[in-house]
């Protein structure tokens, strides 16, 4: 096993002159730190498959003696008691998440390109406002947002869940920072060839922005997947998975097992999206390596 790892590490060295010892040291360091980081999540997974009687024994064990899916079964049982079929919540969450993620990525990319690469009246001010929006955190905003949504008659519809999340200043800021690294000469050359800003953005700049775009997809998906319906929606048929799963799990520590099962269940889709997106991020490097 160690030999395979060493071979892998060797292959990753960019230059032949790289010392293999350093890479091994990095691997060992990251593994040790990684074990500490992964511990709470490992415990969450373990506790989600522990039967009730194992949850509170001394000393607490780091593994499940008799693993069971009872916690997951109980969670789904609670969820099935709702008036609306479970599939409806799944549909709501998938619909809201995909719409928000898609709109956020498309809109933020275009706006980021313009803010990073074009000079026009107001561009400096807008760049400034985006950072201010990131830094300004006030608990009164939610009330004001609610008032705006109530004025627009959006409460108790899908709109209330989707529209406020579309324009994320963080997503725009991320893309703007990344696009600002594209050399101006590239854009000037495209302009000389007669390409408009829209085409430059989507055909020249964005294909080179895979790492940032994939990162934005991870952020957007994760945030949208966790949108709680809160006071925005009252009708059961518009509620999302996080809302109902939290309800099912919020019966205190006596049901810690269910809370763990809920956490594990909600974590699976973002992790799948993360893995796919990260694969693309890392392939970017591999491809540009082959080209040269």
């Amino acid at each position: 096993m160690a030999q395979i790892n060493t071979a892998k590490l060797k292959a990753s060295n960019r230059q032949a002159g790289r010392k293999i010892g350093g890479t091994v040291a990095i691997f060992v360091f990251l593994t040790i730190l990684g074990l500490f980081m992964a511990m709470p999540i490992y415990l969450t997974v373990i506790m989600s498959i522990k039967p009730v009687e194992e949850l509170f024994i001394f000393p607490p064990k780091l593994y499940a003696v008799r693993p069971t899916l009872d916690n997951f079964r109980d969670m789904f049982e609670v969820l099935h008691q709702n008036r609306v079929p479970f599939s409806r919540y799944v549909f709501n969450s998938v619909f809201v998440t995909l719409t928000v993620t898609l709109c956020q990525c498309v809109f933020a990319s275009m706006a980021a390109f313009v803010l990073a690469k074009c000079k026009f009246p107001g561009s400096r001010l807008l760049n400034h406002i985006i950072v201010i929006a990131l830094l300004y955190q006030s608990n009164v905003i939610y009330i004001m947002q609610y008032m705006v949504m109530a004025k627009l008659r959006m409460i108790d519809t899908y709109m209330a869940l989707i529209l406020p999340s579309i324009a994320s200043p963080m997503g725009l800021f991320l893309m703007r920072q990344s696009i600002s690294q594209v050399p101006d000469s590239m854009i000037e050359a495209a302009k000389v060839d007669g390409a408009g800003y829209f085409r430059i953005c989507w055909q020249i700049v964005m294909p080179n922005q895979k790492p940032a775009l994939m990162t934005l997809i991870i952020f957007a998906f994760q945030a949208a997947w966790n949108i709680q319906t809160g006071a925005l929606v009252f009708q059961e048929q518009y509620k999302t998975l996080p809302t109902v799963v939290t309800q099912a799990a919020s019966s205190g520590m006596a049901r810690a097992g269910i809370a763990m099962a809920a956490a594990v269940f909600m974590l699976i889709p973002p992790i799948i999206v993360f893995m796919i997106a990260q694969k693309h991020v890392i392939e970017t490097m591999a491809h540009s390596g082959i080209k040269e």
């Binding site: 990753s12 230059q15 890479t23 990095i26 691997f27 990251l30 980081m37 992964a38 709470p40 999540i41 415990l43 969450t44 000393p59 607490p60 275009m110 706006a111 390109f113 074009c118 026009f120 009246p121 807008l126 950072v131 929006a133 990131l134 955190q137 006030s138 608990n139 009164v140 905003i141 939610y142 009330i143 947002q145 008032m147 705006v148 529209l163 324009a167 963080m170 991320l174 920072q177 990344s178 600002s180 690294q181 800003y197 790492p211 940032a212 994939m214 952020f219 520590m253 809370a259 763990m260 956490a263 974590l267 992790i271 993360f274 990260q278 991020v281 392939e283 540009s288 390596g289 040269e292």
Partner: protein, 305 residues
């Protein structure tokens, strides 16, 4: 260009707006939602700090009295400033350095290992698992940490990690650090992948041999934008932290030992419904974060040049 000529009479500002109409068109979809759901609520919330607003009655103008009360007679607020500064001083710089260091070290590994390690370090910020931390730091013998320490013989009786005033801030800082490898970390990881490989080759020709040289002469100078992004995210997460403490050590925490400014704002806003006072608190926090952001962006741009 042709339009510029036909619009001779209008001012030069209007002309350049017209010239750049493609830019405005591409900004429009984002700005529409941004203005309606962020700018309008923010602007509406700005004057709230000067009012007495309990959500039931319309806000009443009270001048600067919220601010004078905060600084002159609210002892808990003064304490929360200290807690926030200690908290931010520990979590901000440490997690910023960790974000960069780990993103860099991961970048030195084989592609398959990169994905796995990135997931391991990023996963905590995806997961919403306060319950497990409560069990780890649980004050009875069943708590993982207590039982571990008792088994090692380091302590004789369980420590009240979550209620003992001596530990609550420390525990909160640990958990905050655990979840802090979030947006900044991932953006830096993406930044590393975006560095032009020819830069490394050119560097090798010019005699760059070790990882450290590569880091200092090639990597950092070409990561300015990502470093700035991570800095902003780290400022926000370390100064506005409050949910970690509230979920972990209770609200209010023992002796207000983990009572941050944001927790104080939450207290007045959502517990006592004194929204005017709460917005004044948030406004002070914003001014501090804004100043810090200006300072860091000055430092970074100086370093990058």
């Amino acid at each position: 260009m042709a339009q510029g000529k036909t619009e001779k009479k209008s001012s030069s500002l209007w002309r350049s707006v017209k010239q750049n109409k493609a830019c405005y068109a591409m900004l429009a979809p984002f700005m529409l939602f941004f203005i309606v759901f962020t700018v309008v609520p923010v602007v509406m919330s700005l004057p709230m700090g000067f009012t007495d607003f309990n959500m039931a009655q319309p806000p009443k103008y009270v001048g600067l009295s919220n601010y004078t009360t905060l600084f002159l007679s609210d002892k808990v607020f003064i304490r929360s400033i200290r807690v926030t500064l200690v908290f931010a001083l520990f979590t901000g710089p440490i997690s910023y350095i960790l974000c960069f260091l780990l993103a860099w070290l991961i970048n030195e590994l084989h592609p398959k290992l990169k994905t796995i390690f990135t997931l391991i370090f990023y996963a905590p910020s995806m997961a919403n698992v306060y319950t497990v931390w409560q069990l780890i730091f649980s004050g009875d013998m069943n708590g993982y940490l207590n039982s571990f320490l008792i088994n090692l013989g380091l302590i004789n009786s369980p420590v009240q990690w979550l209620t003992d005033g001596r530990y609550v801030l420390g525990v909160t800082i640990v958990v905050q650090l655990w979840i802090s490898l979030g947006a900044g970390f991932l953006a830096l990881r993406a930044g590393f992948q975006n560095i032009d490989r020819t830069m490394y080759e050119a560097g090798a020709i010019e005699g760059i041999r070790t990882r450290w040289q590569e880091l200092i002469y090639i990597v950092i100078p070409s990561m300015g934008p990502q470093l700035m992004f991570a800095a902003v995210m780290q400022i926000v997460s370390s100064f506005t932290a409050g949910t970690v403490a509230q979920n972990l050590v209770g609200f209010p925490s023992t002796d207000y030992k983990a009572h941050t400014i944001m927790t104080h704002a939450y207290d007045y806003g959502w517990v006592r419904y004194e929204m005017g006072y709460a917005s004044a608190i948030c406004m002070i926090l914003f001014v501090v974060m804004y100043a810090l952001n200006r300072l860091i962006s000055k430092l970074l741009s100086k370093y990058m040049d």
